[in-house]
Subunit: 148 residues, 2 copies
Amino acid sequence: MERVMTTERTTAETLAKTLRDAIIRFSRRVRQARPVGDLTFSQLSALTSLQLAGALTPRELADMERVQPPTMTKIVGKLEERGLVARTPHPTDGRQVILAATDEGRAVYAFNERARNEWLAVELERLTPEERETLARAAEIMQRVARG
Amino acid sequence: MERVMTTERTTAETLAKTLRDAIIRFSRRVRQARPVGDLTFSQLSALTSLQLAGALTPRELADMERVQPPTMTKIVGKLEERGLVARTPHPTDGRQVILAATDEGRAVYAFNERARNEWLAVELERLTPEERETLARAAEIMQRVARG
DNA sequence: CCATGCTCATTAGCTAAGCTAAGGACCGTG
DNA sequence: CACGGTCCTTAGCTTAGCTAATGAGCATGG
C-alpha cells in the first residue's frame, strides 16, 4: 500500500511537470501562430463564454473564466473597444452591468467556430484520429481539474 | 473522401477550440494555486531546460523555450536576481554568454522535481491511472505539435 | 588588413494580462 | 436610518510576450 502510493505520487509529480512544460510550449506556439490583430486567447475565451451563456455580469464571467474581476474588466474593455461586447444596466441592481456579445461579436465567434485556416486546426488535422481522441479526453480532464 | 475530409476538418476545428479553452482554464487554475514567491511557469520552464541541457546561450534557450531572445533575457534576468542562474563569458565568441543553473538553481529544480505539496500533483493523484495516462500522452502530442 | 554583412545579447517601447488594494455606488437587513 | 456586504472599476504593480533598434563582435572576401 505504501509502495503503491509512493508510485502514484511519483507518477503524479512527473506528470505535473511534463504537463506544465507541454502546456507552456504549446501555448506559446499557438500564440505565435495567431495572426496580428486576431483576438488573444483570453479575449476569445471570454467572448466564447459570453456567447454560450447569452449574457453575464462581469463577476459571473470572471468566475467562469477563472480570473479576478479587475482582470475581466480589462479583457472586456478590449472586447468592447472592438465592438464585440456591449454593456447594459442591470435590470434590478444599480451596481451591476450586463455583458453580452454584439452582432459583430457573434459573427467573430461564429467565424472562430469554423476557422479553416487556423494553424492549430490544420496541425490537429494531421494527427491520427487516436491522437485527436487523446487530446479531446485530456481537454475534458483538464477542465475538470480546473473546476476543482 | 470529401466527406471524410470534411469530418476530420470539423473535428479538428472543434478540438482546437476545446483544447484552447481547456488549456487557458487549466493554466489559470494552476497559476492561482502557485504559492506567492514561487517561480512562475516561464521561469521554471527556463530553469528546467537549463538544468537538463547543462548550459546554453540565451539564443539557444530562447529557441528551446519557443520565445524571442529579448523575452528570454527578461526571464533569465529574474532567475539571475534570485541567484538561480549564472552567466559566464563564451569561450570563443565575445558576443555571447553562457547560462547555467547555480547550485541554488539546481536545488530549486530538484525540489520542484519532487514537490509533494504542489497542488497540481495532488490533483493529478486523484485521477485514475487511465486519466493520468491520457494526460501524459496528450502532453507528448502537444510537445510534438509545438515543435512543428 | 579592411570593408561589409551578419549574428549576438541587450535595451527601449509597447501591449496584454494576471494579481491585490482601494474607492465609490448600491443593496439588504435589522 | 445605519451598517455591513457586494458590485465594478481604478490604481498600482508584476510578468511576459512582441518588434525595433543598438552596439559589439565575428566571418568572409577582396
